[in-house]
């Protein structure tokens, strides 16, 4: 079991309120990702759930029981930190066994659990090494191993892949998703990387300045963002947002259109523009086109390669059924 409920949970540091009262329910077995820009309070929220920070108001409920005053170790949660937080003077085996040792488990039971975790995480050959002798990915696996052996009600991940290089990050992302499917345990994952959020989550919680902007499945957030912030934050490259007369034509203050929902042509279209920088990814090409419709260049995604160069004149046509409309407060108009 691993249902977590936050009821009117708030956090202030002195007179600064970093998290205004918020409600959130995380269902058992869900993979929930907290995503938002730096300093939006996502890590603080995770630490409140973990018990590493005291709440200033409200209640944290884990599996129906009020855990607000329960110390971190007694909440039945395991946390994986950004810096791995391994004990540098202990071997991998001792690192993984540490929570079991603290729980007073017998040596034989400790060894068995460590071996099982090591097998799952491909760490069997490294059990006698110290963390300093491991690569970043292996260290992160040890940190996950230390969390697994506790058989927690929920795993808490605090930007666990931020210290890894791009290739390793993709690999570890898959490993964590795989682990979630295999263990079927609640996971709460904090990241500022919206690609991680989109690829891993069952449910994404988008935060800004401690406020939940939207909660939903990755595709819900992508297809129906509740406001301009979520629209701009979810999706890579981000959604084009156009204000002014072009938006007024659609009875909105702001209109949004994703790069893949704009057709690009050299002969005709709605908006005339000039090609600026092009980004060639092989499978796709992103063109940054300066148009009369918007002061900012619009990003357009074309499949495959297109023979368009810097300064070429093009015509852009947004697909009307994929146009997002927002009011003067930035809220979505249906």
């Amino acid at each position: 079991m691993g249902q977590i409920q936050l009821n009117q949970v708030s956090k202030s540091f002195g007179s600064v309120e970093v998290i205004p009262p918020l409600d959130l329910t995380i269902e058992d077995g869900e993979f929930v990702v907290f995503v938002g820009p730096s300093g939006c309070g996502k890590s603080t929220l995770l630490r409140l759930i973990a018990g590493l920070e005291d709440v200033s108001g409200g209640h944290v409920t884990i599996d129906g029981a009020d855990a607000t005053a329960v110390p971190p170790a007694k909440r039945g949660l395991a946390m994986v930190f950004q810096s791995y937080a391994l004990y540098p003077h202990m071997s991998v085996k001792k690192n993984i066994a540490f929570p079991l040792r603290m729980a007073g488990l017998g040596q034989a039971a400790q060894d068995k659990k460590v071996e099982d975790a090591a097998r799952v995480l491909n760490l069997t050959d490294y059990l006698d090494r110290k963390p300093g002798q491991l690569s970043g990915g292996q260290r992160q696996r040890v940190a996950i191993g230390r969390a697994i052996v506790r058989e927690p009600a929920a795993f808490l991940f605090d930007e666990p892949l931020s210290n890894l290089d791009a290739a390793l990050r993709v690999g570890m992302r898959l490993e964590i998703s795989e682990l979630h499917k295999r263990l079927d345990t609640t996971m709460i994952y904090v990241t500022h990387d919206q690609v991680e959020a989109m690829t891993m989550a069952d449910k994404i919680v988008v935060l800004q300045a401690g406020v939940i902007e939207q909660v939903g499945s990755p595709l819900e957030l992508y297809q129906r963002p509740r406001n301009t912030f979520v629209a701009g934050f979810i999706g890579s490259p981000k959604m084009n947002q156009i204000e002014g007369p072009e938006a007024a034509k659609h009875d909105a203050t702001t209109i949004g259109i994703r790069p893949e929902h704009i057709d690009i042509s050299e002969t005709e279209g709605t908006w005339k523009g000039t090609v600026g920088v092009s980004e060639h990814l092989g499978s796709d090409t992103f063109f940054h086109v300066q148009t009369e419709a918007s002061a900012e260049p619009l990003t357009v995604r074309a499949t495959g390669e297109r023979a368009l160069g810097y300064g070429d004149t093009v015509y852009l046509t947004p697909r009307p059924d994929h146009l997002h409309r927002f009011d003067s407060k930035g809220l979505r108009l249906e």
Binding site: L52, F81, A85, Y87, H89, F98, M102, R146
Partner: protein, 128 residues
């Protein structure tokens, strides 16, 4: 006593260098405050503590000036004892040399064995 401020300052710096996340991890793993200090904090601070102890021994050993000024010949520490071989009656080179070697030998041997810890301790936190 004279070295106490530098000991406090050095130990404070070394303990402060230990990342808070590691202690939080220990807390999440179920360690009590006592276990946190015993199994995580102290082992991680050993290089710092070793270099502080060694530096303190060296400083104490070198406090010849104070011992010469403040102690009587009956309670003379080693440094004052060595200095006593240079007296108005003459310089006793053999005894002076023997006493000097005896004086530096323990520090030299200790320093030799703990040099790895000492260097690591002195540069602890200087680089990532």
């Amino acid at each position: 006593m004279m070295n106490l401020p530098i000991i406090v300052w050095m130990l404070y710096t070394y303990f402060k260098e230990i990342p808070g996340e590691i202690l939080e991890a220990a807390r999440m793993d179920g360690a009590s405050l006592r276990e946190e200090i015993l199994y995580v904090l102290t082992p991680m601070a050993i290089p710092g503590m070793a270099s502080t102890v060694l530096l303190n021994v060296i400083l104490s050993w070198n406090e010849a000036f104070w011992t010469l000024q403040l102690t009587t010949s009956d309670a003379a520490p080693l440094t004052q004892f060595i200095a006593s071989y240079s007296s108005p009656e003459g310089l006793f080179y053999a005894k002076l040399s023997a006493a000097s070697i005896m004086a530096i030998a323990p520090i030299l041997i200790m320093g030799w064995f703990s040099q790895k810890q000492l260097v690591r301790g002195l540069t602890f936190g200087a680089v990532k």
